[in-house]
Protein backbone atom coordinates (compact mmCIF):
# COMPACT_ATOMS: atom_id res chain seq x y z
CA UNK A 1 0.00 0.00 0.00
CA UNK A 2 1.34 3.36 -1.07
CA UNK A 3 0.51 6.64 0.66
CA UNK A 4 0.15 9.59 -1.70
CA UNK A 5 -0.11 13.19 -0.52
CA UNK A 6 -3.01 15.06 -2.13
CA UNK A 7 -4.50 18.54 -2.05
CA UNK A 8 -8.08 19.79 -2.43
CA UNK A 9 -9.47 16.60 -0.95
CA UNK A 10 -12.28 18.46 0.78
CA UNK A 11 -11.12 17.20 4.18
CA UNK A 12 -8.14 19.50 4.65
CA UNK A 13 -8.53 22.17 7.28
CA UNK A 14 -7.41 25.76 7.37
CA UNK A 15 -5.62 26.73 10.55
CA UNK A 16 -7.85 29.26 12.28
CA UNK A 17 -6.49 31.26 15.19
CA UNK A 18 -8.84 32.12 18.01
CA UNK A 19 -8.42 35.88 18.31
CA UNK A 20 -10.95 36.40 21.07
CA UNK A 21 -13.28 34.39 23.30
CA UNK A 22 -16.31 35.96 24.95
CA UNK A 23 -18.25 34.06 27.55
CA UNK A 24 -21.91 34.66 26.71
CA UNK A 25 -23.48 32.40 29.34
CA UNK A 26 -22.29 29.44 31.38
CA UNK A 27 -23.05 27.20 28.42
CA UNK A 28 -22.20 29.36 25.43
CA UNK A 29 -18.99 31.01 24.30
CA UNK A 30 -18.36 33.26 21.32
CA UNK A 31 -15.16 32.64 19.37
CA UNK A 32 -13.71 35.17 16.96
CA UNK A 33 -11.50 33.38 14.48
CA UNK A 34 -8.89 34.67 12.05
CA UNK A 35 -7.69 32.62 9.08
CA UNK A 36 -4.03 32.48 7.99
CA UNK A 37 -2.81 35.56 6.05
CA UNK A 38 -6.02 37.32 7.06
CA UNK A 39 -7.88 35.38 4.39
CA UNK A 40 -11.62 36.08 4.31
CA UNK A 41 -13.92 33.14 5.00
CA UNK A 42 -16.27 34.55 2.33
CA UNK A 43 -19.47 33.02 3.65
CA UNK A 44 -23.16 33.72 3.19
CA UNK A 45 -25.30 34.43 6.25
CA UNK A 46 -26.68 31.10 7.48
CA UNK A 47 -23.84 28.92 6.23
CA UNK A 48 -21.77 26.76 8.57
CA UNK A 49 -18.19 25.56 8.96
CA UNK A 50 -16.77 22.28 10.20
CA UNK A 51 -14.63 23.09 13.22
CA UNK A 52 -11.87 20.62 13.88
CA UNK A 53 -9.54 19.75 16.74
CA UNK A 54 -7.17 16.94 15.81
CA UNK A 55 -7.39 14.14 18.32
CA UNK A 56 -10.93 15.12 19.26
CA UNK A 57 -12.81 15.36 15.96
CA UNK A 58 -14.99 17.76 14.02
CA UNK A 59 -18.37 19.39 14.48
CA UNK A 60 -20.57 21.59 12.27
CA UNK A 61 -21.02 25.08 13.75
CA UNK A 62 -23.04 27.83 12.14
CA UNK A 63 -21.31 31.12 11.46
CA UNK A 64 -22.88 33.87 13.52
CA UNK A 65 -21.11 36.95 12.17
CA UNK A 66 -22.00 38.91 9.07
CA UNK A 67 -19.86 38.45 5.95
CA UNK A 68 -19.62 42.23 5.79
CA UNK A 69 -16.99 41.87 8.44
CA UNK A 70 -14.14 40.43 6.40
CA UNK A 71 -11.15 40.25 8.74
CA UNK A 72 -12.53 37.49 10.95
CA UNK A 73 -15.67 35.48 11.68
CA UNK A 74 -17.50 34.39 14.80
CA UNK A 75 -18.86 31.10 16.07
CA UNK A 76 -21.19 30.72 19.01
CA UNK A 77 -20.64 27.34 20.65
CA UNK A 78 -22.86 25.68 23.23
CA UNK A 79 -21.22 23.09 25.45
CA UNK A 80 -23.24 20.04 24.47
CA UNK A 81 -20.93 17.07 24.02
CA UNK A 82 -17.46 15.64 23.69
CA UNK A 83 -16.28 18.01 20.96
CA UNK A 84 -17.78 21.25 22.21
CA UNK A 85 -16.52 20.56 25.73
CA UNK A 86 -13.00 20.30 24.34
CA UNK A 87 -13.57 23.50 22.37
CA UNK A 88 -14.67 25.28 25.54
CA UNK A 89 -11.29 24.51 27.12
CA UNK A 90 -9.36 26.48 24.48
CA UNK A 91 -7.91 29.93 25.07
CA UNK A 92 -7.38 32.95 22.86
CA UNK A 93 -4.34 32.36 20.67
CA UNK A 94 -5.08 28.63 20.31
CA UNK A 95 -5.74 27.13 16.92
CA UNK A 96 -8.74 25.30 15.54
CA UNK A 97 -9.14 23.69 12.14
CA UNK A 98 -11.75 25.19 9.80
CA UNK A 99 -13.40 23.58 6.75
CA UNK A 100 -15.99 25.41 4.74
CA UNK A 101 -18.11 27.46 4.56
CA UNK A 102 -20.71 24.88 3.55
CA UNK A 103 -24.31 24.82 2.45
CA UNK A 104 -27.01 27.17 1.28
CA UNK A 105 -27.59 30.03 3.68
CA UNK A 106 -30.43 32.49 4.16
CA UNK A 107 -32.11 33.85 1.01
CA UNK A 108 -30.28 37.16 0.93
CA UNK A 109 -31.14 37.93 -2.70
CA UNK A 110 -34.92 37.44 -2.46
CA UNK A 111 -34.90 39.38 0.80
CA UNK A 112 -33.53 42.49 -0.87
CA UNK A 113 -36.17 45.13 -1.41
CA UNK A 114 -38.71 43.19 0.65
CA UNK A 115 -39.87 43.48 4.23
CA UNK A 116 -38.16 40.98 6.46
CA UNK A 117 -39.51 39.08 9.46
CA UNK A 118 -36.76 37.31 11.38
CA UNK A 119 -37.66 34.77 14.04
CA UNK A 120 -35.12 33.15 16.37
CA UNK A 121 -35.71 30.67 19.16
CA UNK A 122 -33.00 29.78 21.69
CA UNK A 123 -29.64 29.12 20.09
CA UNK A 124 -31.25 29.90 16.70
CA UNK A 125 -30.23 33.50 17.28
CA UNK A 126 -26.61 32.50 16.56
CA UNK A 127 -26.99 31.76 12.82
CA UNK A 128 -29.67 34.42 12.41
CA UNK A 129 -27.35 37.02 13.89
CA UNK A 130 -25.21 36.68 10.74
CA UNK A 131 -28.21 37.78 8.70
CA UNK A 132 -29.38 40.49 11.10
CA UNK A 133 -25.98 42.17 11.13
CA UNK A 134 -25.74 41.75 7.37
CA UNK A 135 -29.05 43.57 6.99
CA UNK A 136 -27.96 46.30 9.39
CA UNK A 137 -24.74 46.78 7.40
CA UNK A 138 -26.78 47.03 4.17
CA UNK A 139 -29.84 48.60 5.74
CA UNK A 140 -30.96 50.64 2.69
CA UNK A 141 -31.36 47.44 0.60
CA UNK A 142 -34.17 46.05 2.76
CA UNK A 143 -37.68 47.16 3.63
CA UNK A 144 -39.21 47.01 7.08
CA UNK A 145 -37.34 44.68 9.42
CA UNK A 146 -38.96 42.87 12.35
CA UNK A 147 -36.94 40.70 14.69
CA UNK A 148 -38.69 38.32 17.09
CA UNK A 149 -36.60 36.54 19.65
CA UNK A 150 -37.55 33.85 22.14
CA UNK A 151 -35.45 32.46 24.98
CA UNK A 152 -36.00 30.16 27.94
CA UNK A 153 -35.20 32.92 30.45
CA UNK A 154 -33.28 36.18 30.53
CA UNK A 155 -30.07 34.44 31.70
CA UNK A 156 -29.95 32.21 28.65
CA UNK A 157 -30.49 35.11 26.26
CA UNK A 158 -27.43 35.52 24.06
CA UNK A 159 -25.79 38.68 22.72
CA UNK A 160 -27.42 40.91 25.36
CA UNK A 161 -25.50 44.07 24.39
CA UNK A 162 -26.33 43.67 20.74
CA UNK A 163 -30.00 42.99 21.46
CA UNK A 164 -30.17 46.31 23.28
CA UNK A 165 -28.63 48.01 20.26
CA UNK A 166 -31.12 46.39 17.86
CA UNK A 167 -33.89 47.42 20.22
CA UNK A 168 -32.66 51.00 20.22
CA UNK A 169 -32.41 51.38 16.44
CA UNK A 170 -35.51 52.99 15.04
CA UNK A 171 -35.18 51.19 11.72
CA UNK A 172 -35.57 47.76 13.35
CA UNK A 173 -38.60 46.48 15.22
CA UNK A 174 -37.17 44.23 17.90
CA UNK A 175 -39.33 42.20 20.20
CA UNK A 176 -38.37 39.41 22.60
CA UNK A 177 -40.08 37.06 24.96
CA UNK A 178 -38.98 34.61 27.66
CA UNK A 179 -40.67 31.37 28.68
CA UNK A 180 -39.90 31.93 32.36
CA UNK A 181 -39.51 35.44 33.69
CA UNK A 182 -37.26 36.46 36.55
CA UNK A 183 -38.81 39.02 38.97
CA UNK A 184 -36.91 41.90 37.38
CA UNK A 185 -37.92 40.98 33.77
CA UNK A 186 -39.96 43.75 32.18
CA UNK A 187 -40.54 42.34 28.73
CA UNK A 188 -42.92 39.77 27.25
CA UNK A 189 -43.50 36.41 28.87
CA UNK A 190 -44.65 33.36 26.92
CA UNK A 191 -43.85 31.42 23.80
CA UNK A 192 -42.12 33.08 20.90
CA UNK A 193 -45.03 32.19 18.63
CA UNK A 194 -47.23 34.50 20.71
CA UNK A 195 -45.32 37.48 19.31
CA UNK A 196 -46.19 36.79 15.68
CA UNK A 197 -49.87 37.91 15.68
CA UNK A 198 -48.81 41.32 17.01
CA UNK A 199 -46.49 42.12 14.11
CA UNK A 200 -47.86 44.58 11.58
CA UNK A 201 -46.91 43.40 8.13
CA UNK A 202 -47.84 43.34 4.49
CA UNK A 203 -47.99 39.58 3.91
CA UNK A 204 -47.26 39.71 0.19
CA UNK A 205 -44.25 41.95 0.65
CA UNK A 206 -42.80 40.08 3.61
CA UNK A 207 -40.33 37.25 3.69
CA UNK A 208 -40.08 35.33 6.95
CA UNK A 209 -36.93 33.55 8.07
CA UNK A 210 -36.98 31.31 11.15
CA UNK A 211 -34.20 29.60 13.00
CA UNK A 212 -34.59 27.61 16.18
CA UNK A 213 -35.09 24.19 17.72
CA UNK A 214 -36.93 21.65 15.51
CA UNK A 215 -40.05 21.63 17.72
CA UNK A 216 -40.56 25.34 17.20
CA UNK A 217 -41.11 25.31 13.46
CA UNK A 218 -44.57 23.84 13.15
CA UNK A 219 -46.03 26.43 15.50
CA UNK A 220 -44.13 29.31 13.94
CA UNK A 221 -45.22 28.30 10.43
CA UNK A 222 -48.86 28.03 11.53
CA UNK A 223 -48.78 31.58 12.85
CA UNK A 224 -47.05 32.90 9.73
CA UNK A 225 -49.61 31.26 7.44
CA UNK A 226 -52.39 32.74 9.58
CA UNK A 227 -50.86 36.13 8.88
CA UNK A 228 -51.31 35.43 5.18
CA UNK A 229 -47.63 35.04 4.34
CA UNK A 230 -47.37 32.72 1.31
CA UNK A 231 -45.62 29.37 1.86
CA UNK A 232 -42.91 30.28 -0.62
CA UNK A 233 -42.06 33.36 1.46
CA UNK A 234 -41.11 31.31 4.51
CA UNK A 235 -37.59 29.96 5.06
CA UNK A 236 -36.45 27.60 7.80
CA UNK A 237 -32.96 26.57 8.86
CA UNK A 238 -32.91 22.85 9.68
CA UNK A 239 -30.55 21.26 12.14
CA UNK A 240 -29.02 17.90 11.28
CA UNK A 241 -25.69 16.24 11.96
CA UNK A 242 -23.59 17.49 9.06
CA UNK A 243 -20.59 15.28 9.44
CA UNK A 244 -18.63 15.54 6.20
CA UNK A 245 -20.18 18.74 4.82
CA UNK A 246 -19.71 17.35 1.33
CA UNK A 247 -23.02 15.59 0.70
CA UNK A 248 -21.62 12.09 1.11
CA UNK A 249 -21.56 10.67 4.62
CA UNK A 250 -25.36 10.42 4.92
CA UNK A 251 -25.77 11.65 8.50
CA UNK A 252 -27.64 14.84 7.58
CA UNK A 253 -29.76 13.30 4.84
CA UNK A 254 -33.47 14.13 4.75
CA UNK A 255 -35.05 11.99 2.03
CA UNK A 256 -33.10 12.70 -1.15
CA UNK A 257 -31.58 15.89 0.19
CA UNK A 258 -28.30 16.47 1.97
CA UNK A 259 -28.81 19.18 4.56
CA UNK A 260 -25.10 20.11 4.42
CA UNK A 261 -25.11 20.89 0.70
CA UNK A 262 -28.74 21.61 -0.20
CA UNK A 263 -29.49 23.35 3.12
CA UNK A 264 -29.42 24.02 6.00
CA UNK A 265 -31.83 26.78 4.95
CA UNK A 266 -34.86 25.51 3.02
CA UNK A 267 -38.00 27.08 1.61
CA UNK A 268 -41.14 25.98 3.47
CA UNK A 269 -42.78 24.91 0.18
CA UNK A 270 -40.19 22.12 0.05
CA UNK A 271 -40.12 21.36 3.77
CA UNK A 272 -43.88 20.91 3.76
CA UNK A 273 -43.69 18.08 1.25
CA UNK A 274 -41.09 16.16 3.18
CA UNK A 275 -42.38 14.00 6.00
CA UNK A 276 -40.20 14.24 9.08
CA UNK A 277 -38.29 17.32 7.93
CA UNK A 278 -39.81 19.37 10.77
Amino acid sequence: METIAITHSGYEIKRGRIAEITELTEQEKLYRIVLPNDETLDHDPGQFVEVSLFGVGEAPISICSSPTRRDSFELCVRKAGRFTEALHQLKAGDEVGIRGPFGVGFPVVPLEGNDVLLIAGGLGIAPLRSLINFIIDNRRDFGKVDILLGARDSESMLFGGELAYWDKRIDLNFCCSVDQAAPDWQGNVGLLTGLIPGVTLDPLKTIAVACGPPVMYRYVVDELLKKGIPETHIYLSLERHMKCGLGKCGHCQIHDVYCCQDGPVFNYRWVKKIKGAI
Partner: protein, 248 residues
Protein backbone atom coordinates in the same frame (compact mmCIF):
# COMPACT_ATOMS: atom_id res chain seq x y z
CA UNK B 1 4.16 18.50 34.50
CA UNK B 2 5.39 15.02 35.44
CA UNK B 3 4.13 11.85 33.88
CA UNK B 4 0.69 10.84 35.17
CA UNK B 5 0.72 8.38 38.08
CA UNK B 6 -1.03 5.23 36.98
CA UNK B 7 -1.98 2.25 39.12
CA UNK B 8 -3.63 -1.12 38.49
CA UNK B 9 -5.83 -2.86 41.04
CA UNK B 10 -7.80 -6.08 41.16
CA UNK B 11 -10.90 -7.09 43.05
CA UNK B 12 -12.63 -10.46 42.40
CA UNK B 13 -11.36 -11.67 39.05
CA UNK B 14 -8.93 -14.04 37.38
CA UNK B 15 -6.41 -11.24 36.76
CA UNK B 16 -6.45 -12.19 33.12
CA UNK B 17 -7.01 -8.59 32.08
CA UNK B 18 -3.86 -7.53 33.91
CA UNK B 19 -2.13 -10.24 32.01
CA UNK B 20 -3.43 -8.70 28.78
CA UNK B 21 -1.80 -5.42 29.79
CA UNK B 22 1.43 -7.11 30.83
CA UNK B 23 1.40 -8.91 27.47
CA UNK B 24 1.04 -5.76 25.36
CA UNK B 25 4.58 -6.33 24.13
CA UNK B 26 6.19 -3.43 22.36
CA UNK B 27 3.20 -1.20 23.01
CA UNK B 28 3.74 -1.71 26.73
CA UNK B 29 7.14 -0.07 26.46
CA UNK B 30 5.54 2.91 24.74
CA UNK B 31 2.91 3.09 27.45
CA UNK B 32 5.53 2.91 30.19
CA UNK B 33 7.35 5.80 28.55
CA UNK B 34 4.25 7.97 28.95
CA UNK B 35 3.08 7.12 32.43
CA UNK B 36 4.59 6.66 35.84
CA UNK B 37 3.46 3.21 36.90
CA UNK B 38 3.17 3.32 40.67
CA UNK B 39 1.26 0.15 41.50
CA UNK B 40 0.65 -3.03 39.51
CA UNK B 41 0.71 -6.22 41.57
CA UNK B 42 1.13 -8.53 38.63
CA UNK B 43 4.34 -6.92 37.38
CA UNK B 44 5.90 -5.07 40.33
CA UNK B 45 6.08 -5.17 44.12
CA UNK B 46 6.16 -1.43 44.93
CA UNK B 47 3.16 0.40 46.28
CA UNK B 48 2.36 4.08 46.46
CA UNK B 49 0.93 6.30 49.16
CA UNK B 50 -0.03 9.37 47.12
CA UNK B 51 -2.80 10.24 44.68
CA UNK B 52 -3.40 8.36 41.45
CA UNK B 53 -4.00 10.26 38.24
CA UNK B 54 -5.48 7.17 36.62
CA UNK B 55 -6.52 4.01 38.47
CA UNK B 56 -7.40 0.90 36.48
CA UNK B 57 -9.57 -1.47 38.46
CA UNK B 58 -10.19 -5.06 37.42
CA UNK B 59 -12.68 -7.43 39.03
CA UNK B 60 -16.09 -7.12 40.59
CA UNK B 61 -17.26 -6.33 44.07
CA UNK B 62 -18.45 -9.46 45.89
CA UNK B 63 -18.12 -8.59 49.57
CA UNK B 64 -18.01 -5.60 51.89
CA UNK B 65 -14.25 -5.64 52.10
CA UNK B 66 -13.84 -5.18 48.35
CA UNK B 67 -16.53 -2.50 48.34
CA UNK B 68 -14.57 -0.56 50.94
CA UNK B 69 -11.35 -1.04 48.98
CA UNK B 70 -12.99 0.25 45.80
CA UNK B 71 -14.29 3.34 47.60
CA UNK B 72 -10.80 4.05 48.91
CA UNK B 73 -9.31 3.72 45.43
CA UNK B 74 -11.99 6.03 44.06
CA UNK B 75 -11.20 8.63 46.71
CA UNK B 76 -7.51 8.55 45.89
CA UNK B 77 -7.97 8.67 42.09
CA UNK B 78 -8.63 11.51 39.69
CA UNK B 79 -9.77 9.11 36.99
CA UNK B 80 -11.11 5.62 37.55
CA UNK B 81 -11.18 3.06 34.75
CA UNK B 82 -13.16 -0.15 35.10
CA UNK B 83 -11.52 -2.77 32.93
CA UNK B 84 -12.61 -6.27 32.12
CA UNK B 85 -16.13 -7.72 32.23
CA UNK B 86 -15.99 -8.40 35.99
CA UNK B 87 -15.48 -4.69 36.62
CA UNK B 88 -17.72 -3.28 33.88
CA UNK B 89 -20.75 -5.60 34.02
CA UNK B 90 -20.04 -8.03 36.89
CA UNK B 91 -18.90 -10.72 34.48
CA UNK B 92 -18.97 -14.43 35.33
CA UNK B 93 -18.98 -13.58 39.03
CA UNK B 94 -22.52 -12.38 38.48
CA UNK B 95 -23.78 -15.93 37.94
CA UNK B 96 -24.07 -16.37 41.68
CA UNK B 97 -26.68 -13.59 41.82
CA UNK B 98 -29.22 -16.02 40.43
CA UNK B 99 -28.76 -18.29 43.45
CA UNK B 100 -29.32 -17.86 47.17
CA UNK B 101 -26.21 -16.33 48.73
CA UNK B 102 -26.28 -18.92 51.53
CA UNK B 103 -26.24 -21.73 48.97
CA UNK B 104 -23.33 -20.10 47.19
CA UNK B 105 -21.40 -19.81 50.45
CA UNK B 106 -21.95 -23.41 51.47
CA UNK B 107 -21.14 -24.71 47.98
CA UNK B 108 -17.75 -23.01 48.02
CA UNK B 109 -16.81 -23.09 51.69
CA UNK B 110 -18.85 -26.03 52.99
CA UNK B 111 -19.76 -25.74 56.67
CA UNK B 112 -17.34 -22.80 57.06
CA UNK B 113 -19.52 -20.61 54.86
CA UNK B 114 -20.27 -18.21 57.70
CA UNK B 115 -16.59 -17.34 57.96
CA UNK B 116 -16.66 -15.72 54.53
CA UNK B 117 -19.52 -13.23 54.30
CA UNK B 118 -20.37 -12.26 50.72
CA UNK B 119 -22.69 -9.84 48.97
CA UNK B 120 -24.28 -10.05 45.57
CA UNK B 121 -21.85 -9.41 42.72
CA UNK B 122 -21.74 -5.83 41.53
CA UNK B 123 -19.93 -4.00 38.77
CA UNK B 124 -17.89 -0.98 39.80
CA UNK B 125 -20.31 1.63 38.49
CA UNK B 126 -23.00 0.16 40.71
CA UNK B 127 -20.99 1.46 43.67
CA UNK B 128 -18.76 4.35 42.61
CA UNK B 129 -18.54 6.74 39.68
CA UNK B 130 -16.59 5.23 36.80
CA UNK B 131 -14.97 7.50 34.22
CA UNK B 132 -14.03 4.93 31.58
CA UNK B 133 -15.16 1.42 30.71
CA UNK B 134 -13.02 -1.17 28.94
CA UNK B 135 -15.36 -4.09 28.38
CA UNK B 136 -14.38 -7.63 27.54
CA UNK B 137 -13.25 -10.94 28.97
CA UNK B 138 -10.42 -10.40 28.62
CA UNK B 139 -10.03 -6.79 27.51
CA UNK B 140 -8.95 -6.26 23.91
CA UNK B 141 -5.42 -4.79 23.86
CA UNK B 142 -6.28 -2.23 21.16
CA UNK B 143 -9.22 -0.93 23.13
CA UNK B 144 -7.10 -0.69 26.27
CA UNK B 145 -4.67 1.56 24.39
CA UNK B 146 -7.54 3.61 22.96
CA UNK B 147 -9.04 4.22 26.39
CA UNK B 148 -5.64 5.00 27.88
CA UNK B 149 -5.15 7.64 25.17
CA UNK B 150 -8.57 9.13 25.88
CA UNK B 151 -7.85 9.22 29.61
CA UNK B 152 -4.47 10.88 29.08
CA UNK B 153 -6.05 13.43 26.71
CA UNK B 154 -8.89 14.06 29.15
CA UNK B 155 -11.49 13.10 26.57
CA UNK B 156 -14.48 10.80 27.05
CA UNK B 157 -14.25 7.38 25.39
CA UNK B 158 -17.45 6.35 23.69
CA UNK B 159 -18.03 2.60 23.78
CA UNK B 160 -19.66 1.59 20.48
CA UNK B 161 -23.38 1.06 20.98
CA UNK B 162 -23.97 -1.14 17.96
CA UNK B 163 -23.76 -4.91 17.61
CA UNK B 164 -20.62 -7.02 17.29
CA UNK B 165 -22.09 -8.03 13.89
CA UNK B 166 -20.87 -4.70 12.50
CA UNK B 167 -17.22 -5.46 13.14
CA UNK B 168 -17.77 -9.11 12.25
CA UNK B 169 -19.02 -8.05 8.81
CA UNK B 170 -16.07 -5.66 8.41
CA UNK B 171 -13.90 -8.73 8.97
CA UNK B 172 -15.97 -10.73 6.50
CA UNK B 173 -16.49 -13.72 8.77
CA UNK B 174 -19.03 -16.39 7.84
CA UNK B 175 -21.97 -15.81 10.18
CA UNK B 176 -22.05 -18.27 13.08
CA UNK B 177 -25.78 -18.75 12.57
CA UNK B 178 -25.03 -19.93 9.01
CA UNK B 179 -22.70 -22.46 10.59
CA UNK B 180 -25.59 -23.59 12.78
CA UNK B 181 -24.19 -22.23 16.05
CA UNK B 182 -25.72 -19.63 18.32
CA UNK B 183 -23.78 -16.46 18.81
CA UNK B 184 -24.54 -13.45 20.99
CA UNK B 185 -22.99 -11.01 18.51
CA UNK B 186 -26.31 -9.53 17.33
CA UNK B 187 -27.18 -8.15 20.80
CA UNK B 188 -23.69 -7.57 22.21
CA UNK B 189 -22.02 -4.19 21.93
CA UNK B 190 -19.03 -3.96 19.60
CA UNK B 191 -15.54 -2.65 20.27
CA UNK B 192 -13.63 -5.95 20.33
CA UNK B 193 -13.21 -6.13 16.54
CA UNK B 194 -15.22 -9.42 16.68
CA UNK B 195 -12.18 -11.00 18.29
CA UNK B 196 -13.77 -14.34 19.15
CA UNK B 197 -15.52 -14.90 15.83
CA UNK B 198 -12.35 -13.99 13.91
CA UNK B 199 -10.77 -16.92 15.72
CA UNK B 200 -13.54 -19.41 15.09
CA UNK B 201 -15.41 -18.98 18.35
CA UNK B 202 -18.88 -17.57 18.99
CA UNK B 203 -19.59 -14.32 20.83
CA UNK B 204 -20.39 -14.94 24.51
CA UNK B 205 -21.68 -11.45 25.19
CA UNK B 206 -18.78 -10.54 27.47
CA UNK B 207 -19.04 -6.83 26.61
CA UNK B 208 -22.64 -6.49 27.73
CA UNK B 209 -25.73 -5.80 25.66
CA UNK B 210 -26.32 -2.89 23.31
CA UNK B 211 -28.36 -0.23 25.10
CA UNK B 212 -31.56 -0.79 23.15
CA UNK B 213 -31.72 -4.37 21.88
CA UNK B 214 -34.80 -5.40 19.92
CA UNK B 215 -35.86 -8.18 22.24
CA UNK B 216 -38.95 -9.39 20.40
CA UNK B 217 -37.03 -9.24 17.13
CA UNK B 218 -34.19 -11.26 18.61
CA UNK B 219 -36.60 -13.90 19.90
CA UNK B 220 -38.13 -14.19 16.46
CA UNK B 221 -34.66 -14.71 14.99
CA UNK B 222 -34.02 -17.53 17.43
CA UNK B 223 -37.33 -19.16 16.56
CA UNK B 224 -36.47 -18.99 12.87
CA UNK B 225 -33.27 -20.91 13.61
CA UNK B 226 -35.23 -23.35 15.80
CA UNK B 227 -33.45 -22.16 18.90
CA UNK B 228 -34.91 -21.84 22.35
CA UNK B 229 -35.00 -18.22 23.54
CA UNK B 230 -34.27 -19.40 27.09
CA UNK B 231 -31.09 -21.03 25.93
CA UNK B 232 -29.81 -17.70 24.65
CA UNK B 233 -31.00 -15.87 27.73
CA UNK B 234 -29.03 -18.34 29.81
CA UNK B 235 -25.98 -17.86 27.64
CA UNK B 236 -26.31 -14.12 28.11
CA UNK B 237 -26.46 -14.65 31.86
CA UNK B 238 -22.96 -16.09 31.86
CA UNK B 239 -21.56 -12.56 31.80
CA UNK B 240 -24.50 -10.25 32.34
CA UNK B 241 -26.34 -11.60 35.41
CA UNK B 242 -25.06 -8.84 37.68
CA UNK B 243 -26.65 -6.24 35.39
CA UNK B 244 -30.11 -7.75 35.83
CA UNK B 245 -31.34 -6.03 38.96
CA UNK B 246 -29.44 -2.77 38.95
CA UNK B 247 -29.07 -1.70 35.35
CA UNK B 248 -31.87 0.82 35.20
Amino acid sequence: MGRPKVAFFDLSCCEGCQLQVANLGEALLDVLGLVDLVEFREVMSESWEGRYDVAFVEGSVVNEESEQRLCEIRQRSNVLVAYGSCATIGGVNGMKNRKLLSDVQSTVYGDKGDWFPVTKTRALHQIVEVDYFIHGCPIHPDEFIKVLKSALAGLPYLVPDYAVCVECKFNENVCMYDKGVTCLGPVTRAGCNSWCVNNGNVCYGCRGMVSNPNQTGAEEVLRSYDLDANLIANKMMMYNAAMEQCDE
